[in-house]
Each structure stands twice: as structure tokens, then as C-alpha cells.
């Protein structure tokens, strides 16, 4: 923890970024700390273009080792899409949440499938239900809904009167 602890002491004066946020800032990434969750998990907002680098850094960092990605959540806000990545370090027994905001009209973000194998299906699910495009994804296709489904149900503007909701022989 030596390197991480050192970072914490140097950055405590400002907006109190946590140890992992200061680690990212030190490496030159644009990361801003958000309010910690209620159980004390650090939440960091990262720029979409830095996401793959940040995830790689956190995974490969020899002390942090965030090697487990629980889930990828997409949230549809009126003005933006938010992607939330839940990471866990088995070694440190710490959780970390990364958030990234992307443009509503052109929802695209780089895929983490090359960093975490589990991201492959989670991103497909997010694409399927929210219509967020993941660049460089090996196989970005629908996973839960049929291939000929129209629209992305978890978007707030999705209309539920689709004729497909009526059972038909497929």
C-alpha cells in the first residue's frame, strides 16, 4: 500500500479525492471524485475516452488489483447516459465504482471486453436494453431480446405498445 498511501497524503487538501482517485490523477487522467456511497465505497467519475486506460491501470496496478468487474449498469437520464462500473479488488478487499457520462444523441463508449472478459456479455446486455454502442466490442449483438426486436426497452422514451409484446409464433 505504500504508493497508494503516499498519494492519499499528498492530495487530501483539495476536494478530498480517495486513494484510488488520487492514483488516477497522479497518472495524468481526468478523474473527479464523487461523494462516497453509504458503505464508504469510493466513486470516481472518469472521462469516457480514458475509461479503457483507467480500467487497465486499476486492474494491472500491482497493489490495487481490481480484477473483478461485477456489473455494468447503464442509466438513462434526461440529458445524458451514465455508465456505472462496479469493481472489486480481491487482494485489498475493496470496492470501487467508476462512473462515466456519455452523450445522449450519440451514445458510444469504448468497450472493456479486452480488459475484463466478463464485460463482453454485460456490455451486450447494456447495448441490448439501453442501446449504448461499445466500440471495439468483439460481438455487439442483442443478448436477452430476440435479434429482430426494435428499440431498447430500458430507455425512458421506449413505448410499450409494441406488437411484439403480444405472443406470436416466432
Amino acid at each position: 500500500m505504500s504508493e497508494l498511501e503516499q498519494n492519499k497524503t499528498t492530495n487530501d487538501a483539495g476536494t478530498t479525492p480517495g486513494i484510488f482517485c488520487s492514483l488516477l490523477i497522479d497518472k495524468g487522467y481526468k478523474a473527479s471524485p464523487l461523494k462516497n456511497s453509504k458503505d464508504g465505497t469510493e466513486i470516481i467519475q472518469v472521462q469516457p475516452e480514458n475509461l479503457v486506460d483507467v480500467a487497465t491501470l486499476l486492474k494491472m496496478h500491482k497493489e490495487a488489483q481490481f480484477i473483478l468487474l461485477y456489473s455494468i449498469t447503464g442509466v438513462d437520464y434526461p440529458d445524458k447516459f451514465e455508465l456505472i462500473y462496479h469493481l472489486q479488488s480481491v487482494k485489498l478487499n475493496k470496492k470501487l465504482i467508476l462512473k462515466s457520462h456519455i452523450d445522449k444523441n450519440n451514445p458510444e463508449i469504448d468497450s472493456l471486453a479486452q480488459v475484463f472478459a466478463t464485460a463482453n456479455w454485460h456490455e451486450r446486455e447494456t447495448y441490448d436494453l439501453l442501446g449504448i454502442k461499445f466500440n471495439n466490442h468483439p460481438d455487439l449483438s442483442r443478448i436477452l431480446l430476440p435479434n429482430d426486436w426494435k428499440g431498447h426497452p430500458l430507455r425512458k422514451d421506449y413505448v410499450m405498445d409494441d406488437e411484439r409484446l403480444v405472443w406470436n409464433e416466432r
Binding site: S37, L69, S71, A117, H122, I143, P146
Partner: protein, 396 residues
């Protein structure tokens, strides 16, 4: 085999109605003779849109739906949802209710593992363990039925506690069952653990290395069989798991046989947890089962959440609609299949803005093609069965 040309590759379709898939999973397999070369799982046949449904229902209306995500371990889904909502609304669950939750959850874990054991061995062609496993599962289900009124979809927890007190005599019967249970487990082990057929079919089959497991987000008994001590009850204790003395069961090789060993050991640990929980069960009246008034911790006078009487929520006479403050929370629960998380985003209205379920079986299906690549087709079921996949949980 070596003389075959690529033209002789065969694509076959396993499922969606295959009897061993415990639900509807379709696998598109490319075989070279009997060797599996490539597998593409097709999921989504049981997709019910749990996350979308949540957005059109109030929190209490959504509560019974949660059971259906994984029907073999409904208490864990309920707990996951309740802990997330309680975290948003800052509800402190009474101690007795927490203990009741732990007792019911651990019973549910045993029942779920027994169901897995029965179906896993059935997949391997052994019919008789099914009857042994269902004998005890029936006793557990009976206990839970007496407590909750349902055999599978319990709908027993509510925000801030549990719905009912133990009926009279329940605790005594639970203790009696706990006494009997280890002997039952000895019986299975006598049948299965050293059985040469089981050993031949499962030892060294479907080896999941720790690196691959973590990369694919595998959790629960599957990753513990690979030697990683990742058990949220120990590493990140929720509820009152801190009060109990139990050990995290791990194995070393990560093959199908080790996953069996870990689950059997886990059932024994669960029995120990139940016994300790019953011994330590705080006394109390029905008023200690649920919080009486909500308090979101805002310290404002005009807050619509603080001071809400929970007894009136959702009742027919003078109903109050539960309205947690705006915020977000995630709850992580160690369910029988791994880590179940429920992520809730509330915008301060009566309905959740977004609910996201992360279910462990989803990752287990994803890793399946890697595990069976290059194996014989006959190894499909020993591997897939040992992962303990429940399909409704995959599709949600």
C-alpha cells in the same frame, strides 16, 4: 480422429428444451467427432424484463416480483432488494429481524444446494441421490412454508424487517432438523464422494483457473472451488454475519469435483450458522420485527419520508406509498450461486428510477464455452451441471 477434414465438422443444437439445462438454454455447438470445438450460448428465452417492470411499479408492488428472479433462492433476491432500499432510506433493521433473515437465508441456501446436488447427479445418470436430496429439501421447504406460507416464492422480507414472527414450535423443529442434517450429508458423501463413476466423470474435468474465473466474474462456490476465498459473508459482512463463527469453504483444483466438495462443505457450514443464530436469537415481541417509523436522516421538518408509519404502508385502509429519498445504493449478497447485487437508483418518487440486477449465473453461462472447449461432448453435463446455473436468473 486426426484424419478428419474440416468438412466433417458438425453443428448441433442443444436445447432450448434440453432436460439437463434446468430451464431454457440453447447451445449452438460445433463438434469435430465427439470433441467440442466451439459453443455459442443463446440466452434470453426467460427474459421477463424485471428491470423494466420495476420502473412502473412502486417499491412494495415490486417486492413480490423479486422472488421470481431466482426461484431456487428467493430469500437472497428479496434480501438483496431490501438491503438496497434500506440503504437508500437509511432504515435500521431490528436485530431480531436480521437474525430471522439469516436463519431463513441459510435454510434457503441448503435447500438450493440440495436441489443442485440432486439435479447434478441426475445429469450424470445417478437417479437415487435425487430421492435422498429431496427428502431433506422437503423438510426445509415445509419449515419455510409454515413460516411464510409459500414453498418457493416467499415474499417474506419487507423494508425494515420481516413480515412475521416464527410460529410456535418452529424454532424447536428447526433445531431438530439441524441436528439431523449433518447425518444426511454423511449419507450423500457415502454414496457420492468416493464413487468411482463420479470420480472418473468429474475429477480433472472443467478446470476453472482462478485467473480465468475472476476475469469472467465468476463468484460464489465456483470461484471458491478454484481456491479464492471470496465469500461476502466473511470478507464484507452484511446483516449480522459478523456474529457467527464459520469458515469459508475452498478447494484447490477448480474442477467439477471440487465444486461438488465445496457445496457439500458449505451446507455443513450453513447448518452451523443456523444453530448459532438460533442460540443467539434476540428475544422480542412482534414490534421488534419491523421498524415502526422511517427516518431518512435528513433532519428536515417537512420531509415526507421521516416519521412515516410503516404499519400503514401498502395497507388497504389509509394507504401510504413508500417514498425513499433520492439516491442510489447497491447491495451485495452472497447467494448460493455467487454474488447477487441489486443496484437501485431512486429519484425521490414512489417508483424506482432504475433497478439493475447482477446475477451470478449470467457469468457462469458466459464462461461455459471456455470450460468445455476441446472436451468430449459427454463432459458437457458434468461441467455445466457443476456450475449450478439457474436460467431464470440468467435472463431476468
Amino acid at each position: 480422429m486426426q484424419t478428419q477434414t474440416p468438412n466433417q465438422k458438425m453443428t448441433i443444437n442443444v436445447g432450448p428444451q434440453h432436460p439437463s439445462t434446468h430451464g431454457v438454454l440453447r447451445l449452438i455447438m460445433t463438434l469435430n467427432g465427439e470433441i467440442i470445438e466451439d459453443t455459442q450460448p443463446v440466452i434470453g428465452y426467460l427474459h421477463r424484463g424485471m428491470e423494466k417492470i420495476a420502473e412502473s411499479r412502486t417499491y412494495h408492488q415490486y417486492l413480490p416480483m423479486v422472488d421470481r428472479i431466482d426461484y431456487l433462492s428467493s430469500f437472497f433476491n428479496l434480501a438483496s432488494f431490501c438491503y438496497a432500499v434500506e440503504s437508500i432510506a437509511d432504515i435500521q433493521v431490528p436485530k431480531r429481524a436480521e437474525y430471522i433473515r439469516v436463519i431463513t437465508m441459510e435454510f434457503n441456501r441448503i435447500a438450493s444446494h440440495l436441489m443442485w446436488l440432486a439435479s447434478f447427479l441426475l445429469d450424470l445418470g445417478a437417479t437415487s441421490p435425487l430421492f435422498y436430496a429431496f427428502r431433506e429439501r422437503e423438510e426445509i421447504v415445509k419449515l419455510l412454508e409454515d413460516l411464510t406460507g409459500a414453498r418457493m416464492m416467499y415474499n417474506f422480507y419487507s423494508f425494515g424487517g420481516v413480515k412475521k414472527e416464527f410460529p410456535s414450535g418452529w424454532v424447536r423443529r428447526a433445531l431438530e432438523l439441524c441436528k439431523k442434517m449433518p447425518k444426511y450429508f454423511d449419507e450423500y458423501e457415502a454414496i457420492v464422494t468416493k464413487n468411482p463413476i463420479i470420480l472418473n466423470r468429474t475429477k480433472g474435468v472443467g478446470i476453472l483457473t482462478p485467473e480465468m474465473g475472476l476475469d469472467y466474474g465468476i463468484t460464489g462456490p465456483n470461484i471458491r472451488a478454484s481456491g479464492i476465498e471470496l465469500d461476502l459473508r466473511k470478507t464484507d459482512p452484511y446483516s449480522v454475519y459478523n456474529d457467527f463463527d464459520f469458515k469459508v469453504c475452498t478447494a484447490e483444483n477448480g474442477d467439477s469435483y471440487d465444486r461438488y466438495i465445496v457445496r457439500i462443505a458449505e451446507m455443513r457450514e450453513s447448518v452451523k450458522i443456523i444453530e448459532q443464530a438460533i442460540a443467539k436469537l434476540p428475544g422480542g415481541s412482534p414490534s421488534k420485527l419491523q421498524v415502526k417509523q422511517l427516518n431518512c436522516g435528513c433532519n428536515k421538518d417537512e420531509c415526507c419520508v421521516c416519521g412515516t408509519n410503516t404499519k400503514l404502508i401498502g395497507k388497504k385502509v389509509n394507504p401510504i406509498v413508500f417514498k425513499p429519498p433520492a439516491g442510489e445504493a447497491i447491495s451485495l449478497i452472497e447467494s448460493p450461486r455467487g454474488i447477487t447485487t441489486c443496484y437501485i437508483m431512486s429519484d425521490g418518487t414512489t417508483k424506482p428510477y432504475r433497478v439493475k440486477w447482477r446475477t451470478p449465473s449470467f457469468s457462469s453461462v458466459q464462461v461455459l464455452p471456455e470450460l468445455i472447449k476441446g472436451r468430449m461432448f459427454a463432459d458437457l453435463m458434468p461441467i455445466f451441471g457443476s456450475l449450478d446455473v439457474v436460467l431464470p436468473e440468467v435472463d431476468r
